[in-house]
Amino acid sequence: MKTLLILGAGTGGTMTANQMARHLDPTEWKIIIVDRDENHYYQPGFLFIPFGIYTSGDVIKPKRNFLPPQVEMIFSDIELIEPDENRVRLTRQNRVIHYDYLVIATGTHLVPEETPGMVDGGWRKNVFDFYSVDGATALNRFLKFWKGGRMVVNVVEMPIKCPVAPLEFIFLADWFFHQRGIRDKVEIIFATPLPGAFTKPRASAILGNMLSERQIRLESEFNIMEVDAGNNLIRSYDNREIPYDVLVTVPTNMGADVIERSGMGDELNYVPVNKHTLQSQRWENVWVIGDASNAPTSKAGSVAHFQLEILIENLLRHMEGLDPLPKFDGHANCFIESGFEKGILIDFNYDVEPLPGKFPLPGFGPFSLLKESPVNHWGKMMFRWIYWNVLLKGEEMPFESQMSMAGKWS
């Protein structure tokens, strides 16, 4: 009996387990998936919690519901991965699992402790994150009765999970304060280490305009050194200070601790992979999907989904002694909420930045690329249903894994 071991049962791990369960003969292969948390989180939904659009109940379901019966699910922390021995040690009952193939899907995590002063004093009082259920819920409680003042949204350092989410948060905040009738009492500042609103030039220019239209101040190339919770201000390495009444932070993102403990990661605990095949650079039976790898694309569920088909094909090829195919092109696709029931869609890869056009059907859409439209917003709201019912199970989606230039204007 051979073993395929999957570490992490988030978006990437769950989709991989579902797909591989269909392909592998159960008399020959055992599939085991390990995760420490019994809950599956619909992470794109966290963004809506601070504004009362979703509650925590909308974004949490039991992990077990999304896995086929033949997959063994173990809830445990991972003590150590020993890739030279093809072995993983779990903390629960000191269990040791020997594997033939390992898929790492341990994701990326917030590390607010990386910024001095962040978790002192103001944490979850007037300093919040919205990338966790607890943070988003605490922020909702704060914003519900806030009388206004200065809100500073700060990205600590790149890369971050879902790099458009801070902008979406700002657009939704602008809308939310309008709805509450206090927009004129709220000043919004976006402090980012990037030179502009976003990483890719065309999208950055358009999104930057959307910020200024909404009277949102952009403080670019702001590399935060510390949170001075006593004085309610953030300070950069080049000694710029921005005072806040409420600080919404996107803390440093890092891969799982176990990656570092096991000596498998880079300086941010991401596993180095071949960016086109998703195979580990060091161990040929170790593969990585989603946020856990160092592939230079966005850390986002859509990316894990586009990687899936290529990962599955390459695993199956490798099991047959064939070379993996370098087919992953870095494809990412993001709905960006822009407030007032509108949204933007962007579609890009390693080589091509987001361009205007229609998606997924060239010329028809229904989604407009790099342009605000109500349809894009409803696409995003529909996506929660698609996520729970189609995507996690690894069912077919009407999008190609590789990016297409059809219907785009360059």
Binding site: P159, P163, E221, M225, E267, L268, S298
Partner: protein
């Protein structure tokens, strides 16, 4: 570029953003001249970073990120911002004759 440009740099090719197009054409003297043109006088602490960036590029084909530099050399984040004002990873890569760090997505 505030200071006078050294004649040494006249035969060196740069891209539109001021990064050397051929990292192999780099010498420590060229590095000093680039730094000077940027208004930076190189000290031993600068060289720790520049030499590490060169090594890292030789090993991986990529200039190191800021975090990689501060994790692998005795220079911490605060100091590196003083040594290379502005974007330290970018400025260090420029002086080390390397391309622009890919950084963020």
């Amino acid at each position: 570029m505030t200071n006078q440009i050294s004649p040494l740099l006249q035969s060196v090719e740069f891209d539109a953003e001021g990064f050397m197009t051929d990292p192999n054409a780099w010498t420590p003297e060229i590095g000093s001249a680039i730094a000077q043109a940027l208004g930076i006088t190189l000290t031993d602490r600068h060289w720790l970073v520049i030499n590490f960036a060169r090594q890292e590029f030789a090993a991986t084909g990529q200039p190191p990120t800021l975090r990689k530099i501060t994790k692998s050399t005795p220079v911490d984040t605060k100091e590196i911002y003083q040594l290379f004002p502005g974007g330290p990873a970018k400025t260090a890569a420029r002086i080390a004759g390397l391309g622009k760090p890919t950084g963020c997505i």
